[in-house]
Amino acid sequence: MAHRWGMAVDLDRCTGCGACVAACHAENNIPTVGPDQAGRGRAMHWLRVERYWEGDFPDVRLKFRPVMCQQCDAAPCEPVCPTYASHHTDEGLNAQVYNRCIGTRYCANACPYNVRFFEFFNPQWPKPLHLQLNPDVSVREVGVMEKCTFCVQRITAAEIDAKAGKRELKDGEIQTACAQSCAARALVFGDLNDPDSDVSRLSRSPRGSKLLEDLGTLPKVTYLDRQTQV
């Protein structure tokens, strides 16, 4: 049976620590652009932790929401790409072929979640950071779009391993970098086609909702909302 990768994010558990953001940068060779460029709006975080204040003072409550590519089933970024750089894989991932991207940036405009990023300059890693680049992930050159892949390099490696061992993948065998680094276990990754997987179970929660669900993008990330505190 084909896999259908998805994620569940429990907002009650998220403490906003940002470990997922750091892990994502390290795993996926995402360049840091420095304070100057970040101030110009060129920061690249495939995964970001949005911070919202709810309520009026003094009854305010802080809400953190980690937002990564929602891997939509009806993704607005895909049909607009003139070169198929942004396309849908058999396992339901929104893949980005960096070498095919010519940098129209149309996908970034079409994405309602703003989770697609553009290489404004050729990326640089100040020494000794260049030694920690992940050899499994390509480094993107100037002028291409990039985005969260659900750590497709880990998915593919595990699938090849399972196939070689003639066995089925176990739930939890594949962890994205963000889910692996989440101390509070707020992020859970897995196969939505497996009804018994953790992610399927959490996605069915009555607290669950999709981000900007009314746009009809059919995201595969489910957010479990914070429960009212008495």
Binding site: G41, R105, N109
Partner: protein, 451 residues
């Protein structure tokens, strides 16, 4: 060809081709240096990366896309206006058709550059084109950017033909009146034209076909340009009104551009005898009509968004009407509606100067209109956490300025090598001799009596 007035006419209109003053060389050198500066700036942008522009996350499109839409809009001057005027056989079109069609071709060439300038990796632009590839990869035909490629290349081909066909008899005229290298070059361009009835008949049929064929092409081009926006789920882009709104805006700015160019040519080439105030005033009336139509579209667009009260769209509406984009927004309203309306609706103010002032306002206003469609929406998408703003950087400003210089340069060169007023069409109007003249040139006359 022996009668004196006809000779005077062609003498007057051929003079710019045959006599060149130092001012021409100075102008070409000046404009050429600005264009070279623009090309250098583009090279700088390619070498250093797109980060030298003001583009950021979330505003991934800005001035370049604004310029793209603006220039494609200007290109509607020629085709839509002259095709309609040719089809209804309006006599007052004669002196302005070729100016208008030349604007179309040059504005399209410049407009078509902008999708390339704005690419992250412009050296791979040919991946937008369906060409036989060994890996059998085609462009994505679902993408409005690919539709753009087809629309613009069709329009460019059509408009070059539409501009070129009626130039053939004039090239023949130049061939017959010159010697040396001019005679050889224009002889080649005249494609063996001798002015037989059969040739006139062929020219007439070809022009009728093109006038009818170019209209749907022109309208579809700007509709496709509007689809670049309306196909994306972005607040205030995703609108059903965008197709006709963009077409109306394109014709609006196109008329303004045409009016300015016509008035400038009249002044600098001393064509007062051929371009009468009534020609420019008639263009002014058309401009007034389009100004009202544009204001109507703006009203409909804004009112439906306001009534719909969808939170993301209201955020964009507020930031343009009252927020940080409000100064630009209200400048646009004044330039596109208040000023042209008050100047052009009063007969006393509808002089050549008045029309030119109104047109300059419309060009500024229509550029701002496109900017205000592109930028505030991208800066205020659904998640407030990702909101952002934008300010153009010198690279974008220099490239924008150099494209204006490029248009003037192309036009100056065009006027130098081609009679800018269609001599045979004008002559046909002045001396109708039914035996020789094709039906297309025979006057039935809308507006002819006024001229």
């Amino acid at each position: 060809m022996s009668d004196a007035p006809a000779n005077r006419l062609s003498d007057d209109l051929l003079r710019p081709l045959l006599q060149t003053s130092w001012r021409f060389y100075a102008l070409v050198a000046f404009l050429g240096s600005i264009v070279l500066m623009g090309l250098g700036t583009w090279a700088y942008q390619m070498y250093n990366g797109f980060g030298v522009t003001g583009i950021n996350n979330p505003i991934f499109w800005a001035v370049y896309v604004t310029n793209f839409v603006f220039w494609i809009g200007i290109s509607h001057a020629g085709m839509v206006i002259t095709a309609i005027l040719r089809l209804v056989n309006a006599g007052w079109r004669r002196p302005v058709t070729r100016c208008a069609e030349a604007i179309t071709v040059f504005a399209l060439m410049i407009g078509a550059l902008f999708p390339l300038i704005h690419l992250g990796r412009p050296w791979l632009f040919f991946w937008l084109i369906p060409y036989p590839s060994s890996r059998q990869i085609w462009p994505n035909f679902r993408s409005p950017l690919v539709w753009d490629f087809f629309a613009i290349s069709t329009y460019l081909t059509g408009s070059v033909l539409f501009l070129g066909l009626p130039m053939i008899p004039d090239f023949a005229l130049v061939r017959d009146r010159t010697t040396g290298w001019r005679r050889r070059i224009y002889g080649g361009l005249a494609l063996g034209w001798t002015g037989t009835p059969k040739q006139w008949h062929r020219l007439e049929s070809a022009m009728s076909i093109m006038a009818i064929a170019i209209l749907p092409v022109a309208i579809s081009v700007h509709t496709v340009v509007s689809f670049d926006f309306s196909m994306a789920p972005v607040p205030m882009w995703h609108s059903t009104i965008f197709g006709p709104y963009f077409v109306a805006g394109a014709i609006f700015s196109g008329i303004a551009g045409l009016l300015i160019v016509t008035a400038a040519l009249r002044k600098f080439l001393h064509l007062e005898e051929y371009v009468h105030p009534v020609h420019i005033q008639n263009l002014g009336k058309l401009l007034l009509l389009m100004s009202l139509l544009w204001a109507y579209f703006l009203f409909v667009e804004r009112l439906t968004v306001w009534y719909g009260n969808e939170s993301a769209e209201i955020a964009v509406l507020r930031v343009t009407q009252k927020g940080s984009f409000a100064p630009l927004y209200w400048t646009m309203v004044v330039c596109n509606f208040v000023m042209p309306f008050s100047i052009l609706s009063l007969k006393k103010l509808r002089t050549i100067t008045g029309c030119v002032i109104a047109s300059c306002g419309v060009l500024i206003g229509m550029w701002l209109e496109r900017f205000l469609i592109v930028v505030p929406s991208l800066g205020h998408k659904y998640l407030p956490y990702t909101w952002g703003t934008y300010r153009p950087r010198p690279v974008e400003i220099l490239i924008t300025i150099s494209t204006f210089a490029a248009l003037v340069l192309l036009y100056t060169l065009f006027v130098k090598f081609v009679p800018i007023i269609s001599i045979w069409e004008l002559r046909a109007a002045e001396h109708p001799s039914p035996a020789l003249l094709p039906a297309a040139a025979r006057e039935q006359a809308l507006g002819e009596t006024q001229a």
